[in-house]
């Protein structure tokens, strides 16, 4: 695909509109990013209050790293999000391929059923999962949280992969079979590489969704499987704490680094 087709700039006759649009764009960015900036700045503020600037300190970061429960919750979240992502990618990609490749009588029904968790209110999902686990006699813990997360994460992978499959030449699989690949080999060596951008996008989506999920987790966790959002929510209820600013700042840096890194990977892949 051509990376950059030259696009015309806005006609000069529309100067006024142009000014207005520039202003608007600036406002949107201010609205989006100023709070984040303020948050990061105040994570270095020695005062407990978010409104007054006292002096520069790393104190909150130090406290954060020494806060056992918070660190444990962060670890839990990472483990849960990672497992959820892996399972979602397997289920989502496999499901999309099967739905695309073979004809099922219930294909339409399956499609709808898969899409519902994406739009269903989380509170409903949390309660229904809780009832399910209780009925099945399952103890709440990591497993139940992960099952809950996969339920609403894998449809995002599936939908992304399906969109990509729509545009894929059906002859690609046939060509692989023709050259001696079994259906499984054709899937691994030809289809999966072709779907890779969609799989990566779906995986990122699943990871992020799982990472900051609160409500479903709330219903399906045990004390041992407390995740970061739940721990943070608990802390914030007691009163704002600059330690949370520090935590957020770390996440922002990690997110930005991650986005830049995946951009870099994509560029490498394209070459």
């Amino acid at each position: 695909m051509p990376a950059s087709l030259s696009r015309p700039s806005i006609p000069s006759g529309l100067k006024l509109l142009n000014w207005f649009l520039s202003g608007w764009t600036a406002l949107v960015f201010i609205f989006l990013y100023v709070p984040i900036l303020v948050l990061v700045v105040y994570s270095f503020n020695s005062s407990r209050l978010n409104i007054v600037w006292e002096s520069f300190t790393f104190d909150w970061y130090a406290r954060l790293l020494n806060d056992g429960p918070l660190i444990r919750a962060a670890k839990n979240s990472l483990v849960i999000a990672t497992v959820t992502t892996v399972l979602s990618v397997i289920l989502g990609t496999g499901g999309a391929w099967l739905l695309h490749r073979y004809r099922y009588r219930a294909a339409r029904g399956i499609q709808t059923l898969v899409a519902i968790p994406m739009v269903m209110p989380e509170i409903l999902m949390g309660i229904s999962l809780l009832i399910l686990f209780a009925t099945a006699g399952m103890n709440l813990g990591f497993t139940t949280v992960i099952i809950g997360h996969v339920t609403f994460c894998f449809p995002f992978v599936l939908v992304a992969v399906q969109a990509r499959l729509q545009g894929l030449d059906p002859a690609l699989e046939e060509a692989a079979l023709d050259l001696g690949a079994t259906p499984l080999q054709a899937f691994w060596r030809v289809i999966v590489p072709c779907l890779q951008p969609a799989i990566v996008a779906g995986a990122l989506m699943a990871f992020t969704l799982s990472m900051d999920e609160l409500i479903v987790t709330f219903f399906t966790r045990s004390a041992a499987a407390t995740t970061l959002p739940i721990q943070v929510y608990g802390l914030a209820r007691v009163g704002l704490n600059p330690m949370l600013n520090a935590l957020s700042a770390i996440f922002i840096v990690a997110t930005v680094a991650f986005v830049l890194f995946s951009d870099y990977l994509q560029k490498l892949g394209r070459r």
């Binding site: 030449d169 060509a175 079979l177 023709d178 001696g180 690949a181 080999q185 590489p193």
Partner: protein, 357 residues
């Protein structure tokens, strides 16, 4: 090499291939020719193993492969869309089949290099498919199939995405390659000129059946059905009544009263009407009387310049309309103009009976 026996393929209530039998000889270039939707692709897919026949058997080298999956058949296909793997380099695309067949790496590398050499793509070996031109992609697709040394190579309209000039070059190149390597090709096209240029034999397919099978020249000169006559080249198709027989010839009359002499060999005894096909270029046009079995007068109604040839629309004294082609050999030649009265000569052999009742 391939033996197709009574193969039928249905999609729902629609019969795409209808009780078709055909044998492909080793080393030949066989073309399946027919209009869009006649079942050519379906037949090819049956040979490749992407479709399974509802009835009949397909033998490859004497072995029944009718229900073997594609990865168990030693045939390979060149796809209309080329279907190159977008994430693999040219080299890896070509090497894919050998890898799947667990050919040892050094041997595979040598065979890939040889195949790339054959299609003159050695310099592009490390490019990705999207960095190639249409003609180059076509050649990668070809190399990728040939490198597996298939017993039969199947090609589904492989040239249809190329522009006219490149297409013509590729036709010759493909034909040359097939001859040099002694491969068996089954080639699908709806382009009759392409079929005539490349094929040893042509099978004209119509509604899932073989309308006529024969050498390219035979198909052109001796079409046996009205469809075959009309589909290949141009043809004047005349409905005639049989008015008399005289040993090896017969007299037939066209609607308006024009009488012609035909060879009676192809006219079954007792036939009363027939359909006669005349190729436009077989009609000899002259201002002088000609020494041919058939001679009649006509007026040139319209003349269309076509470069190497002139297309003439004629109407005979009896009112029968014909079109003829005359070569524009040199400026010195007899020139024909609209409104001229001319003699039209036809040899016995050039009147082909394509139907008789």
């Amino acid at each position: 090499m391939i033996e197709i026996r009574g193969v039928t393929k249905r999609f729902g209530s629609f019969t795409a291939v209808d009780n078709l039998s055909l044998s492909v000889r080793a080393g030949e270039f066989l073309t399946l020719l027919g209009p869009s939707g006649c079942g050519k692709t379906t037949l090819l897919r049956l040979l490749a193993g992407f479709e399974m026949p509802d009835e009949g058997v397909i033998l490859l080298d004497g072995q029944d492969v009718s229900h073997l999956p594609p990865y168990r058949r030693s045939v390979n296909q060149v796809f209309q869309s080329y279907a190159l793997f977008p994430h693999l380099s040219v080299r890896d695309n070509v090497g894919f089949g050998l890898r799947m067949q667990n050919v040892p790496a050094p041997e595979a590398a040598a065979r890939v290099a040889e195949a790339l050499e054959m299609v003159s793509l050695r310099e592009q070996a490390d490019r990705l498919p999207h960095q190639l031109s249409g003609g180059q992609r076509q050649r990668v697709a070809l190399a990728r199939a040939i490198v597996c040394r298939p017993k039969v190579l199947l090609l589904d309209e492989p040239l249809s995405a190329l522009d006219a000039k490149l297409r013509h070059n590729m036709q010759l190149e493909l034909k040359h390659l097939q001859r040099r390597l002694g491969l068996t090709f089954v080639f699908v096209t709806h382009d009759q000129e392409e079929a005539l240029t490349m094929s040893d034999r042509i099978a004209i397919i119509h509604r899932g059946r073989i309308e006529q099978l024969g050498a390219a020249g035979e198909i052109y000169h001796r079409p046996r059905t009205p469809f075959a006559a009309d589909f290949i080249g141009q043809a004047n198709l005349l409905q005639v009544a049989v008015v008399g027989r005289n040993g090896t010839t017969a007299r037939v009359r066209v609607g308006g009263g024009l009488e012609l002499t035909v060879a009676s060999a192809e006219l079954p005894a007792g036939a009363r009407t027939a359909l006669v096909s005349i190729r436009p270029e077989k009609i000899c046009i002259s201002k002088q009387r000609l020494d041919t079995e058939n001679l009649f007068e006509a007026t040139i109604e319209e003349e269309i310049f076509q470069g190497a040839t002139d297309q003439l629309r004629l109407v005979t004294t009896q009112g029968t309309r014909l079109h003829a082609l005359v070569a524009n050999e040199s400026a010195m030649q007899e020139a024909f103009h609209e409104g001229d009265r001319v003699y039209c000569g036809l040899h016995l052999d050039d009147l082909v009976i394509v139907q008789a009742e």
